[in-house]
């Protein structure tokens, strides 16, 4: 059991981060905290992709004579694209938050619902 947990600890970290992010998005009232939750959530997915690329004792994926084991480069490329998407999303979400604050003077989700 312990061995099972230890062997897959990268997945456990991702699951825990994912749940923390989801919790923050649902339970927190402050709109900025919701965006932080969103960031934790999407980062956990990206971490998951990165962690599955790793190979024990793998070298960076540049062909050098005498090296046989490389880490998988494809997930890194995917994650780079994913990071760009996450940045765009966060920027848009923060811009919206600024506009909401300018218009209503509050960032509390419950107060905004009453308006």
């Amino acid at each position: 059991m312990i061995e099972f947990l230890l062997d897959n600890f990268n997945y456990w970290v991702c699951v825990i981060l994912l749940l923390i992010g989801l919790y923050a998005m649902i339970a927190k009232e402050n709109l900025i905290k919701k965006i932080l939750g969103l960031n934790i959530f999407s980062t956990s997915v990206l971490l998951f992709l990165i962690s599955l690329a790793d190979k024990e004792g793998g070298a960076s994926p540049i062909i050098v004579p005498g090296v046989d084991v490389y880490v998988n480069p494809l997930p890194h490329v995917l994650v780079l694209t994913g990071v760009v998407v996450a940045v765009a999303l966060t920027a848009l979400a923060l811009a919206l938050t600024i506009k909401i604050y300018e218009r209503y003077g509050t960032l509390d989700a419950e107060k905004l619902m009453e308006l």
Binding site: F41, V85, A88, L92, I100
Partner: protein
């Protein structure tokens, strides 16, 4: 020589227009609309050529940058993709034409350039989703489409626009993260992202928990994008608050692109036998869709805001599409996919009409619309025609998709769903006939819209084209069926 590059051009023309738009807007604001119209029109022509090509020579596979799949990115245009391309570019073209007068009056000052830029990104994103043959590409194009859609909801002049957009963004981001997670799961066990390659390499892994989890993540992720019933909470706000041409694109196309992704994932990446028998996700979808149809229609009845009523009606109609697909019979799937096109036309016409009424009178409450039939005869007639197609009376287009859906339900031995479809048609009739009745026979309550007349031609022409389309594609239902039929055979592997 040109013909082999058409699959990438159909996506790149709107995207390149989106890049040129901000520079052009700085120089001459007036040129933004012609550029948007021209690029969407070119895309529309390319889609028609692609459809013709697919019908003659079969599926087109385009290797991006000359890299062979499964290593490189592959674009695949088959019957289904071509059908979606034509639908998307056709409705988008009309929405762009409609935008010309609408933008000047209904948007805040100085937003014209960003409006057209985002609109082009949205169209490019949608086209990208339907032509790509690569899972990760699908995720990226879904994100391009979604981010543009979030911003376009916020651009509206209405007071609640930012909150509606924020809500849409938060839910949409969860959806796309789930899609990425599902893609990661598939990659972890097969080592490939190409759809055709995935469908072969996944077969030995059917029954593995990883595959089941990936399927679940995809269904939830695309379910949010499609606004499938329990995940629809963002839709009524976003679709009713967005500017009217954007409401048309969101309601007629963006949620359909989500439905397209669900169909692709369940029938192309997984085998139809797997999703119907081994892991019966399809029968789950049919029940959820049946609930969506009934609850969407019931909520629509209780609305007084015309655009909000149309938005809830979209929740119901995406249910029809998913129900047809979930039945996974030939007739049912034909009805579902045909309904993508028919609903896009009818709901497009209805949102255009609602936009025209708001443009001229500023009224949104359906009880204030009384007597508008005399003032705006063409808009009112188009609204009535499209509403009849939504209800599904013959000989309009809506009748045939519902007819196929009912046949599909009976063919699958699920007569409950046939009853649901008929019952929901009655409910739909309740709220559309109420509006038609008010528009034509209602008493004038206010004297303030005495001088109201028809909207300018650039807004009237798209309304008339779509309303006539509801009749024409009902009488000549063979035209869309000639593409949908082979598409279904290819998807279900009959």
């Amino acid at each position: 020589m040109m013909i082999e590059h058409l699959p990438i051009l159909v996506v790149m023309v709107p995207l390149i227009a989106a890049y040129l738009m901000p520079a052009l807007g700085l120089w001459r604001k007036g040129l933004c609309h012609p550029l948007a119209t021209a690029s969407t029109f070119i895309s529309f022509c390319i889609s028609l050529v692609l459809t013709k090509y697919v019908m003659t020579y079969g599926t087109i596979s385009y290797h991006l940058g000359g890299w062979e799949p499964p290593w490189g990115i592959e674009l695949v245009v088959d019957y289904f993709s071509a059908f979606m391309c034509v639908t998307i570019t056709f409705i988008s073209l009309l929405a762009v034409i409609y935008s010309k007068n609408y933008v000047d009056k209904e948007l805040p000052k100085g937003k014209t350039t960003s409006y057209y830029t985002l609109l082009m990104l949205l169209i490019g994103g949608m086209l990208g989703v339907v032509v790509t043959g690569d899972m990760f590409n699908l995720f990226i194009f879904t994100e391009i489409m979604s981010v543009a859609a979030y911003a376009l909801v916020a651009i509206s002049k209405k007071k609640e626009s930012f909150i509606a957009s924020y809500k849409y963004l938060l839910l949409g981001a969860i959806g796309t993260s789930f899609i990425l997670l599902g893609t990661g799961y598939l990659y972890i066990i097969t080592g490939t992202l190409n759809m055709a390659d995935l469908s072969i390499r996944l077969q030995p892994w059917y029954g593995s928990y990883v595959v089941l989890a990936a399927l679940a993540f995809f269904m939830v992720g695309f379910g949010i994008k499609t606004a499938l019933f329990p995940l629809h909470t963002w839709l009524p706000d976003a679709h009713s608050i967005a500017p009217s041409p954007i409401s048309v694109i969101l309601s007629a196309l963006v949620i359909k692109v989500g439905a397209y992704s669900i169909i692709r994932v369940s029938f192309t990446i997984f085998q139809p036998e797997f999703v119907t028998e081994v892991m019966p996700i399809m029968s789950v979808l049919t029940w959820v869709a049946a609930a969506a149809i009934l609850i969407g229609s019931l909520f629509a009845i209780s609305q007084t805001d015309i655009k909000r009523m149309l938005a809830y009606s979209s929740v119901a109609h995406i249910g029809y599409v998913i129900l047809g697909v979930g039945l996974a019979t030939e007739m049912g799937t034909t009805g579902g996919i045909l309904h993508i096109f028919n609903h896009a036309m009818a709901k497009g016409a209805l949102f255009f009409c609602a936009g025209a009424i708001i443009y001229k009178t500023g009224l949104r409450n359906i009880h204030d619309l009384a007597g508008l039939g005399d003032k705006m005869p063409i808009t009112a007639a188009a609204f009535a025609l499209a509403a009849v197609s939504m209800i599904g009376l013959p000989p309009t287009a809506g009748f045939f998709s519902k007819f196929y859906l009912c046949l599909g339900a009976l063919e699958a031995g699920a007569w409950t769903f046939a009853i649901v479809i008929l019952l929901a048609s009655l409910l739909t009739a309740v709220f559309y006939f109420r509006v038609i009745n008010l528009i034509y026979f209602g008493e004038h309550k206010q004297e303030e819209h005495v001088e109201v007349d028809e909207v300018p031609p650039s807004m009237l022409v798209p309304i008339v084209i779509l309303a006539l389309g509801c009749i024409i594609f009902g009488i000549f239902v063979g035209i869309p069926l000639s593409v949908v039929g082979p598409a279904v055979e290819l998807l279900l592997g009959i």
